[in-house]
Amino acid sequence: MTAALEIDHVSHSFGRVTALDDVSLTVPRGGFTALLGVNGAGKTTLFSLITRLYDNSSGSIRVAGHDLRRQPRQALARLGVVFQSRAMDADLSVRQNLAYHASLHGIGRSNAAARIEAVLAQVGLAEKSGDRISALSGGQQRRAEIARALIHSPDILLLDEATVGLDVKSRAEVLALTRRLIADHGVSALWATHIMDEIQPDDDLVILHQGRVLRQGSAGQIAAGQGLTRAFLDLTGVAAA
């Protein structure tokens, strides 16, 4: 079975600044993969390449077996993305926003209505469908963003620092929701974060630092009994700096 996401020897530069250097990683189907790195590690650049906001200058990216450069339509149709910053229209209702995003995937009104009901139920916002985005709490807005990312039934969810700016309770809810989607609906997830607490020992973990992948494996193995924070600091040399 093909992986949900395969990134193979991808590099990217902005002028003379190398943002990603020979990055390779795999997100298995139906799994939760955490992408851990400090701010500036290259997580957002990697997400921009996966979502084809930029083209990668070298290497290849395959989404559910579809090469992003040669089959962008098929690849992008299988991606659901939650960006770090708010991406929904604050002046429109949750339902209007979701209908708009359904249309961006070619989903007609009647199908969209059914999908909207389903995804709002999945994220626990069924009763907020008529509310404007600006009227929702931070945690609810993030859940609405996840509903938006799910509207076209993607194979893989990309979540870029999805809990940034949320209080502890909302953060836990968003993380639990993502894990539940994986368990109940078989979606895969690539979860970019710089918060160690969000990673569990069973999770697949990729450590990205200064544009390079330092390790990929199970978080428990990488922690190797010394704790993930210690292992991360040793690997990246952040403590020494």
Partner: protein, 273 residues
């Protein structure tokens, strides 16, 4: 799963979705609608009334007789509505880019040129609503082109709106931050409007300064104004039509290039979209 191959109906759905969103945003921003109307109405009611007394206009096509200055300036004000609407769309795209909303549009599986074209057409539809509202008020002010002119002007409004919207789209790809938009106002909108045939005929400009006349004659906005002016009287200004079509192709091509993930400035920037 959504259909991955996108039948023709899916393209129509995507376009309708983008158009619906632009309309909803427009409806939700009533201040924007009022501002778009007040601006040309101030020019029509106050500026034109004052100029009527000092500016004589000889008979120039498409007019077959002497016309009041209000009549002359109306097509220019119609184009002004479309110019500001195009810039407003550009502003909203820069804002969407800063907030992240632009990313959700650009990661759609539809081709980027189609997404940008849909957004452009949707913006033009909104501007046409504003134009007809303005023309209705101008009618009450005794600016009364032939009745069929209201119909024949529609294709000209679509083309002029597309050209000015495409220019805004291109500018939005080049503007790095929302703060830079004030510069666009000073260096694009005002010079384009004033250095055109919107307020004065080009022969009047030549009397004053040959250089100024040449600048006005090189300004694409002049041709948008003239296309609308002639169409409002059931005529086609072929030169204006050719220039508007050429500029539309040029601006839109440049915008698509700039927003292309592998080309243009978009690809070389960090933290955009």
């Amino acid at each position: 799963m959504s259909d991955r191959s996108f039948p023709p109906r899916a393209w129509a759905i995507a376009f309708a979705g983008i158009a619906r969103r632009e309309t909803l945003r427009f409806v939700n921003q009533r201040g924007r609608f009022l501002a778009a109307l007040v601006r040309p109405l101030v020019w029509l009611f106050i500026f034109a009334a004052g100029f009527r007394a000092v500016l004589g206009l000889s008979i120039t096509p498409p007019y077959q007789t002497y016309v009041l200055y209000e009549v002359y300036v109306t097509p220019g004000l119609v184009a002004m509505i479309q110019l500001f609407n195009g810039m407003q769309s550009s502003l909203s795209m820069v804002y969407d880019r800063e907030t992240g909303a632009m990313r959700t549009l650009l990661v759609s599986p539809f081709p980027r040129w189609f997404l940008l074209a849909s957004k452009l057409v949707a913006g033009v539809l909104v501007s046409i609503i504003q134009v007809y509202t303005f023309l209705a008020i101008a009618w009450l002010w005794d600016v009364r082109p032939p009745v069929w002119g209201y119909l024949t002007v529609l294709p000209a409004l679509v083309l002029a709106g597309l050209m000015l919207g495409a220019m805004g789209l291109f500018l939005s790809s080049a503007i790095r931050q929302l703060e830079n938009f004030a510069g666009v106002m000073n260096f694009v909108i005002f010079p384009m409007f004033f250095a055109s045939s919107a307020l004065y005929p080009l022969w009047r400009m030549r009397e004053s300064s040959t250089l100024l006349h040449d600048i006005c004659a090189a300004n694409p906005f002049t041709y948008a104004v003239e296309l609308i002016r002639f169409a409002l009287y059931g005529q086609v200004n072929w030169l204006a039509l050719a220039v508007v079509l050429g500029c539309l192709a040029g601006f839109f091509g440049a915008a698509v290039f700039m927003y292309d993930p592998s080309k243009g400035l978009w690809a070389r920037r960090k933290g955009t979209a």
